[in-house]
Amino acid sequence: MIFSILIYASSNSSQTEQSALRFTRAVLQQGHSIHRVFFYGESVNACSNLIVTPRDETNITEQWLTLASAAKLDMVVCISAAVRRGILDGAEAKRHNKSSANLSEGFQLSGLGQLADAIIMSDRTITFGN
C-alpha cells in the first residue's frame, strides 16, 4: 500500500514526531511505500537547521533526514506555515530580504497542493498531531 503522513505537532520536542517517525519506519519495513511526509503547522519548526539539541536528547530532525536519505522519502514542508514561523530556504530568504536561510537540507518547501496530491495518490493518509 501507499501511505502518506501528515504531521501537525505543536512542538518538535513532543512525542508526536517520534510516533510519526516510528510509524513511517514500520510502513517501510513491511514493504509498503511512503508517497510523502508533509509537515504542517508548528511541525515545520522541526525542519530548521538552527536547532541545537541537548546532548542527552534525541535530535528528531537528524532521524528524519537519516531515514529520508535511506528510503528516498519526499519530505515536504508547508511553505506558508514555514515562512510565518521563520523557516526559510534560500529562495524565500532572498524573496523576503532576510539575512539567512535555515531550512535543513533534505526538506523541501512547497504548497498545500502537495498535501492534496498526497491524499489523492496514497491509499492511506495518516495524521499525527497533538
Binding site: 501528515l6 506558508s80 497542493g113 491524499i119 495518490m121
Partner: protein, 135 residues
C-alpha cells in the same frame, strides 16, 4: 519533486481522484491556527478536484457565529474566507444539533448554511468519506 498538477495523471490516479474528503473543525475562534490551517487544506483539495465537505464539531461551530469582530483583537476573521467557499465549489457543511443546543444557537446564528445532523447521524456521516482530516 512529484507532480504538482492533476493534469497528466495516470488513469489509475484519475480513478483515485474520485476520493472524497471530510475536514473537521473542532476549535473556537482565536484558539490556535487549526481552523485556518484546516480551511487552507479544504481550498487546496478543492483545487485538485477532491470533493470536500466540512464538519463543525463541538466548539468548531463557534467559528461560524455571526457578528464576530475579529479586528478588535487584531486577528483575521476566518468567516470572510469561509463565506467565499462556495466559489471553490465547497458547499457541503455540517453541524450537530447537540452543539447548537449547548450554546443555545440556531442555524440562523451561523454564517454558513449548514445541514444540521443529530449525534446519532455523525458516525454514518463519517463513514461516507475516504479521507478525514481532524486537526
Amino acid at each position: 519533486m512529484p507532480l504538482l498538477c492533476p493534469t497528466g495523471l495516470s488513469p489509475l490516479a484519475t480513478e483515485a481522484m474520485k476520493k472524497n474528503i471530510l475536514l473537521i473543525f473542532r476549535n473556537p475562534p482565536f484558539a490556535n491556527s487549526s481552523n485556518s490551517d484546516t480551511l487552507d487544506i479544504a481550498l487546496a483539495c478543492s483545487a485538485f478536484e477532491l470533493p470536500v465537505s466540512l464538519l463543525f464539531l463541538s466548539d468548531g461551530i463557534l467559528q461560524l457565529l455571526n457578528h464576530q469582530q475579529a479586528e478588535l483583537l487584531a486577528q483575521k476573521d476566518l468567516r470572510k474566507r469561509l463565506n467565499a467557499l462556495a466559489m471553490y465549489d465547497i458547499e457541503d457543511y455540517y453541524v450537530i444539533d447537540q452543539d447548537l443546543i449547548r450554546y443555545q444557537l440556531s442555524v440562523e446564528d451561523l454564517s454558513l448554511a449548514c445541514k444540521v445532523i443529530t449525534q446519532q447521524q455523525l458516525a454514518a456521516l463519517i463513514r461516507q468519506f475516504d479521507t478525514v482530516i481532524n486537526l
